[in-house]
């Protein structure tokens, strides 16, 4: 069975809420019913059929093509299956998802994987602010799963992160790991100012020492970390070309809060 695909006909006149387009909602619906689903966010109703050319059958494997930054909430609350986006995604990509896999070949907007609790999101290019951050109405950010970003990330990577792993290949903006509670963030392309601001017990792993280091981080020196080897092995199993090595400088903080978090700067 071929993947159920949605090809954007033209740039929509308003932001679209694509959260109904997940396998659990689409399973068993025929094309007519799918095309009748509303994806509008204003008083002017827009249905799937108005903006997308729908093809294919397999609702467990969704394919979006030609999407742009107005296509919000792709894969939000996803509970299984796979979504591939050939194009960009708007905000709240995969927000609150539990299981499944989302791959975006372009860029994505703010709050990618906000408060997600499981599954995997991979964005090949840049993402906006608060990746793995807090979804509306939630108290914590990402609570499990894995997000990998091929490009740069905006402000507050992993804001209020509770559990799970975020890897950013490019540059991260200011306040990376801001207010994180726990979990792991790997920043391969450097971080902006105030990295690890308000970090309670999370791990912020950096390829290079950030230019601006918060004074509330305390140096513990260089040592061996066997868990970095576990992490490296797992990331490689996911197809990522990465080397963490086993040695890192450990800075403990943020001492302004609990102070059990750490910034590991790879040697």
């Amino acid at each position: 069975m071929s993947a159920l695909s949605f090809e954007l006909k033209r740039r929509p006149t308003q932001r679209l809420d694509l959260s109904p387009l997940v396998p659990s909602r689409l399973d068993g619906l025929n094309r007519k019913k799918i095309e009748a689903l509303s994806v509008s966010t204003t008083r002017e109703t827009i249905t799937v059929g108005d903006v997308f050319k729908v093809k294919g059958k397999d609702a467990q494997c969704l394919h979006f093509a030609g999407t742009d930054d107005r296509c919000d909430k792709i894969g939000a609350r996803l509970t299984g299956g796979e979504i591939v986006v050939d194009g960009d995604a708007g905000m709240l990509l995969g927000a609150q998802m539990k299981r499944g896999k989302i791959t975006v070949h372009g860029s994505a907007g703010v709050s990618v994987g906000a408060s997600m609790s499981g599954g995997e999101i991979s964005v090949r290019r840049d993402v906006g602010d608060q990746v793995g951050g807090v979804a509306f109405g939630e108290t914590f950010g990402m609570k499990g799963g894995f997000i990998s970003i091929g490009g740069d990330a905006g402000l507050l990577v992993g804001e209020r992160l509770r559990r799970g792993l975020i890897v950013v290949d490019g540059k991260a903006g200011d306040y990376a790991g801001g207010r994180m509670v726990a979990g792991t963030i790997v920043l391969r392309g450097g971080a902006g100012r105030y990295a690890g601001y308000g970090n309670r017990r999370g791990s912020l792993i950096l390829a290079d020492k950030p230019r601006h280091l918060m004074p509330t981080y305390v140096d513990s020196g260089v040592m061996e970390f066997d868990f970095l080897r576990l992490l490296e092995t797992w990331l490689r199993e996911q197809g990522m070309r990465i080397r963490l090595g086993g040695r890192a400088r450990r800075l403990m903080g943020d001492m302004a809060v609990l102070g059990k978090g750490e910034m590991l700067i790879l040697e």
Partner: protein, 302 residues
């Protein structure tokens, strides 16, 4: 009694009587293969028999850095007891005292298993609040700060209730030298097999026991029917030519694994034939009423 011979060595028509046990596997890694083995040998050092050690354990095999979770050299260790509570206690104590303490070590689950045993889940308290948990690929690991750096230990490991303990071979021969050489060969042959260990020193028991004793409170005593110095006695099972009997005890995660190990053992013992001084291969049992697993030697010798 119809006899079977392998290269002139008599395979006595009897069976090894074995018992259900609970077992687990952990993977120990270290900066070098040598230190991984030191840690594993220490953990399974005093683990020959549940009679007085609390557990039976041993090194299953050494692992290359390509086979371990953290890419360092490692060792797979098997541990067996009679019940789950004891296995939990023994695992905690042994990993806590022998692996946690060993320089550069880390400890991981080696068995998925139907049920779980706490590993790092209890050892983490050594961290006194400084321990950190990391979930990687759905598995939880504990990082415990120690003087040598950081001890990484997986949260849980699996257990199996289908393990079998007490598979055995008794090797009867004309000289101690011949019997020891044959048993050493057999232990080596079994060492290459998965899911089994031979828990006694170097895999060999020189003092097979029987249940009970003439002394009150002594739960096991010498298997006098197989002691060559007591051949004069009516209880003796030994031919007059016997100078020594040694035993190989095998514990395995499955009955099939023990079957395979006994097969490999019998053929390794009989390799040199009767000219090497081995006369009989037999096995220990309690009449067949105590243990549900019966490994018939003739069938195993195949």
């Amino acid at each position: 009694m119809p006899e079977k011979k392998v290269k002139g060595v008599t395979i006595v028509e009897t069976f090894a009587e074995a018992f259900p046990m609970v077992g687990t596997r952990v993977i120990i890694t270290a900066p070098t293969a040598e230190w991984a083995m030191i840690s594993a040998r220490t953990m399974t050092g005093f683990a020959t028999s549940v009679i007085a050690c609390g557990a039976e354990g041993g090194v299953e095999r050494a692992l290359t850095k390509f086979e371990t979770p953290d890419g360092r050299p490692g060792v797979a260790v098997l541990l067996f007891t009679m019940d789950v509570n004891m296995l939990q206690t023994q695992l905690r104590n042994r990993v806590g005292q022998c692996v946690l303490t060993s320089p550069g070590s880390a400890c991981y689950a080696g068995l998925e298993g139907e049920k779980k045993l706490k590993l790092g889940a209890s050892l983490r308290f050594f961290g006194d609040g400084w321990q950190m948990s990391k979930v990687i690929g759905g598995r939880r690991y504990w990082r415990i700060p120690v003087m040598g750096g950081e001890f990484v230990c997986e949260d849980k490991t699996g257990l199996t209730t289908k393990a079998v303990g007490g598979g055995n071979l008794l090797v009867v021969g004309k000289s101690h030298k011949a019997v020891l050489a044959a048993c050493t060969r057999a232990v080596k042959a079994m060492a290459d097999l998965p899911d089994v260990i031979t828990p006694f020193p170097g895999g060999i028991v020189r003092s097979g026991s029987k249940v009970g004793s003439k002394y009150a409170g002594q739960i096991a005593s010498t298997n006098h029917a197989y002691a060559p110095g007591l051949k004069w006695h009516a209880d003796s099972e030994l031919p007059s030519t016997t100078e020594a009997v040694l035993e190989i005890v095998i514990d395995g995660l499955t009955a099939d694994a023990i079957h395979e190990a006994m097969h490999a053992g019998i053929h390794a013992i009989a390799k040199g034939g009767s000219r090497d001084g081995i006369t009989h291969i037999t096995a220990g049992n309690y009449g067949g009423n105590l243990g549900p697993h019966h490994f018939h030697l003739k069938e195993i010798a195949g």
